[in-house]
Amino acid sequence: MVEKSIIRADEAAAMVRDGAVVHVGGFLGCGSPDMLLAALLASGKSNFTLVCNDTAIYDPKSGRTTGVAPLILGRRFRKVIVSHIGTNPETQRQMHAGELEVELVPQGTLAERIRAAGFGLGGILTPTGVGTEVEQGKQVLEVEGRRFLLELPLPGDVALIKARKADRAGNLVYSKTARNFNPLMATACSLVIAEVEEIVPIGALDPDQIHTPSIFVDYLVLSDGRPEGGSHA
């Protein structure tokens, strides 16, 4: 099996061009690639379109942030395509001030749109959003007397994802609810960079138990920033 390159977070960030469509894993910060996000912020690049479940958590009182929130505060996005912005008041402020475009997508629809992009579907029909503002501008199809929205694929230029473990081939295993959108995004983007807590030799993972097959992953970054392989244990 072919080994994947293990790179540093700043090298990963250097591969993301200004204005890219960036998919970021995580659910309110749980399972987000925090080191890659910090490197992306430090890179100074911006004008990105974000595809993510949410804009994570920002508490103005304590200053506490999770996931992509520092990039929101740093105004790195031109547009965000997310299901939820309720835990980041700065996203709402920028939206109302006209500084940030926000496309709200129902969470299950977001998941299927990302999957459709990765799995070569031209779209999916969902009952979710029928009769709501989400219907606006979309084709409505009737199948066996029921109305569905046609939702289109949502591909990306870069996926920044987070996994618990990788082997040197790039097979990934996620941990608990830190899985969420990560495996979907790995299928849907031209360049896939996975931040992982541990890298094990090829053959060390049970082939029945791999969540993301190696062929979806381009580069590995170790969470603690070490540029070279070996276990993080």
Binding site: L28, S83, I85
Partner: protein
């Protein structure tokens, strides 16, 4: 005539009665989460959390939190034995595919057509729908759990929602701190009333069409 005092506990207690052993249930953030506290010990429901788990357990002991194990509100949780994890596409496959028996969620407004609004007050507060649109469209039974009145005193039960809808015609039951309503043929059907709020009082204070069920009665926890 009673004076209205908000009572979230009675809402949670009443909703817990819907569940039977084996039911798959999704409890929304806030008031719906309280429902979990009142499920009788002999009833084993399976709680789903849309961020990717089945078999949601109680909060961990302090110091036992796992950064990789949260609920849809980002709070640390635990997993019960026999539970499992999955990705977001599977999670919403479970939801959209009708494999969740009950979803319980809060509302800004709910109307007698079964429409529900809970994700957006235009120009003011726009949290986003998160998983709510899928949960309401996909679950077998949708229970709106809400205090009967806004702080302004207006009833949250409406003839017609005025806010952007989360879903159309999907709400089956509404449980407030006044009573238990079924949504049926474009009306709220009052089946049970709570505390001192009798049907006449409820009808008088609700800006919607309410029909009193023939066997309507007072319910006490």
């Amino acid at each position: 005539m009673p004076e209205y005092v908000e009572n979230k506990e009675i809402i949670a207690r009443h909703i817990a009665r819907f569940f039977r052993t084996g039911h798959v249930v999704n409890l929304g953030i806030g008031l719906p989460t309280l429902v979990g506290n009142y499920v009788p010990p002999d009833v084993t429901v399976i709680l789903q959390s849309e961020n990717g788990l089945l078999g949601l357990g109680p909060a961990p002991a302090p110091g036992e939190e796992d950064k990789d194990l949260t609920n849809a509100g980002a709070q640390p949780v635990t997993l019960l034995p026999g539970g499992c994890f999955f990705d977001s596409a599977t999670s919403f496959g479970i939801i959209r595919g009708g494999h969740v028996d009950f979803t319980v969620l809060g509302v800004l407004e709910v109307d007698q057509e079964g429409n529900l609004a809970n994700y957006k007050i235009p120009g003011k507060m726009v949290p986003g729908m998160g998983g709510a649109m899928d949960l309401v469209a996909g679950s077998r039974h949708v229970i709106a759990a809400t205090t009967h009145f806004e702080k302004s005193g207006a009833s949250k039960l409406k003839r017609r929602c005025t806010l952007p809808l989360t879903a159309m015609h999907e709400v089956d039951y509404v449980v407030t701190d006044l009573g238990f309503f079924e949504v049926k043929e474009g009306r709220f059907v009052l089946n049970e009333y709570f505390d001192a709020y009798d049907p006449a009082w409820i009808i008088e204070h609700t800006d919607a069409d309410i029909v009193v069920a023939p066997d309507c009665h007072r319910w006490e926890p």
